[in-house]
């Protein structure tokens, strides 16, 4: 019994220590904005590896999710004779939820784990330490550009996911199942509000991008510099990002769409 409390205590201490280190890490990374501003090439390089390299998985997944929504939505809605609402259903689910959430989960798996492993290996091979000894702040040089890249790329990826998803839903609904093209779009357009739905979706993906990138970078920076430490940190990145994204999604949905 005593053991349990001891363990609970040390787990709490560990958790708070991590939150504290994470907060300092975030502030430190934010302080590097000026440094990166003077070296835009660093940012561009990271946008390539975080954004461009995630493009394919995001667009293919978006297409399939949209197609599945088109099929399932059609089966459900045709029971009520409301196939014309298929466009609304596909677009609302994508723009509000699936676009930001699924693309953030894919982002954590594709880009987040790569970031953690990269930074963990840099730590293990003393590159971060070496940079420090060359009087270059490794957080500003390594972390800040990656953080910014994640922040910029996540909403773009989510927008791509939703747009391609809507096209996928259209392809199935209108092209294959014969829903009327005009009512597909017009119903969608009359129900989806730009500010309320699309901007809120973008805000969501910005928040997810912030947390998923921060988690990935911090886990890499904070990991034990051994091969086992790096592999554990990579796993933690994917698991913790998924929890963070889904948890934040619930909170944001309640705040945004709860009237």
């Amino acid at each position: 019994m005593l053991n349990f409390f001891t363990e609970l205590g040390s787990a709490t201490r560990e958790a708070f220590g991590k939150i504290g280190r994470g907060t300092f890490f975030l502030l430190h990374a934010l302080s590097g904005f000026g440094y990166v501003g003077l070296r835009p090439r660093l940012l561009l390089k990271q946008m390539y590896s975080v954004g461009v390299l995630s493009f394919l998985i995001i667009s293919i997944s978006g297409l399939f999710v949209g197609m599945v929504l088109g099929l399932q939505g059609f089966y459900i809605l045709s029971d009520f004779g409301a196939e014309e609402s298929l466009g609304v259903m596909v677009a609302a689910s994508l723009v509000r939820e699936l676009g930001p959430v699924v693309s953030a989960l894919l982002f954590a798996g594709r880009a987040g784990s790569a970031l953690t492993a990269e930074i963990g290996l840099m730590k293990a091979t003393e590159q971060l330490s070496g940079m420090e000894m060359m009087a270059v702040d490794p957080v500003k040089r390594i972390i800040t550009p990656r953080f910014l890249a994640g922040l910029i790329c996540m909403p773009l990826l989510a927008a791509l996911f939703s747009a391609i998803g809507v096209m996928g839903g259209h392809m199935i609904g209108v092209g294959m199942l014969g829903v009327d093209d005009g009512s597909f779009w017009s119903q969608m357009q009359s129900s989806i509000d730009f500010r309320h739905d699309i901007i809120n979706g973008m805000i969501k993906s910005l928040v997810f991008g912030f947390s998923a990138t921060l988690i990935a970078l911090f886990e890499g920076y904070d990991c034990l510099p051994t091969s086992e430490g790096v592999s554990r940190a990579t796993t933690r990145t994917v698991v913790n990002s998924a929890f963070a994204v889904l948890g934040l999604d619930f909170i944001l949905t309640a705040l945004m769409f709860g009237d």
Binding site: L121, M122, T125, E126, Q127, S129, G130, M131, E132, M133, M134, A135, V136, D137
Partner: protein
């Protein structure tokens, strides 16, 4: 301040612990300018930690590290960064940045800390690479280099900003005899030609003794012995003799401390 002029680094009463383990317990030593000073000792005695303390990457529990007249651990971050431009460090792994080629790695400190025009940077980098004999390897990526070459590139990078002092962390570990010879030669000649001060942390006795002017032997958080290589050779301390000649048993026991052998064996029987 004659002491400061003579010694580039003075360490006074340095104490440092990691968890409950005391790594340093009142270490004091001086690194004279223009010389090669070696810090030797068995693995795990915190030799690398000592370099990190000198570089200000770690904070001591107590004691002072004076580098070129300033107390390393009382400086602000900005001052510390400026101080580090005057010291180079060669990491065991080389610590080259893996996403840049050899040329860009050597140019990295120059591009970060100076506003020199690119043609001048190019000339400087080629001069440094020529000094370590790798001018022809400038377009290679770090993963295409052998361990010895990586260390030489790292050395070229460490001297890029013309520091006052270079710290070598285990420069000879895991090298074949030829690269070892090359490194020994490089460390010695760079020290002479560039008027550097060098600190070598190592447990490779033969190579280190060959080039060091002065050696500190470190064990159990204290300095056990010090002196020029030849003086240490003639030391009558059993520990020094064991370390220098690599005897299997001596003051450092072959067996990790344990209960009495027979008692331990028999304790399972009852």
């Amino acid at each position: 301040m004659s002491n400061n002029e003579q010694n580039i680094v003075s360490i006074r009463n340095l104490c440092f612990s990691r968890g409950a383990r005391k790594i340093f317990d009142g270490v004091s030593l001086e690194i004279p300018r223009g010389k090669i000073t070696a810090i030797m000792g068995p693995s795990g005695t915190g030799k690398t930690t000592l370099l990190k303390l000198i570089g200000g990457q770690l904070r001591p529990a107590s004691g002072q590290v004076i580098f070129d007249g300033s107390d390393v651990h009382s400086l602000s971050t900005r001052e510390l960064f400026n101080l580090r431009k005057k010291m180079g460090m060669l990491f065991q792994s080389g610590a080259l940045l893996t996403d840049m080629n050899v040329f860009d790695n050597v140019a990295f400190p120059l591009r970060e800390h100076t506003r020199l025009p690119e043609p001048l940077i190019r000339s400087l980098v080629l001069i440094k690479l020529q000094a370590v004999g790798l001018r022809g390897a400038r377009m290679l990526m770090p993963n295409e280099l052998s361990g010895g070459m990586a260390r030489r590139v790292a050395l070229a990078r460490a001297i890029a900003l013309d520091p006052l002092m270079i710290m070598y962390d285990e420069p000879f570990t895991g090298q074949d005899p030829i690269s070892m010879g090359v490194l020994v030669h490089l460390i010695k000649s760079l020290n002479q030609i560039l008027g550097l001060t060098s600190i070598i942390v190592s447990h490779d006795v033969r190579e280190t003794a060959e080039i060091a002017d002065y050696i500190y032997l470190l064990a159990d958080g204290k300095i056990i012995a010090q002196g020029a290589p030849r003086e240490l050779e003639q030391s009558d301390s059993a520990w020094v003799q064991q370390f220098l000649h690599g005897y299997a048993d001596g003051p450092v026991h072959f067996h990790y401390s344990a209960d009495e052998y027979f008692a331990d064996l028999l304790s399972g029987v009852n």
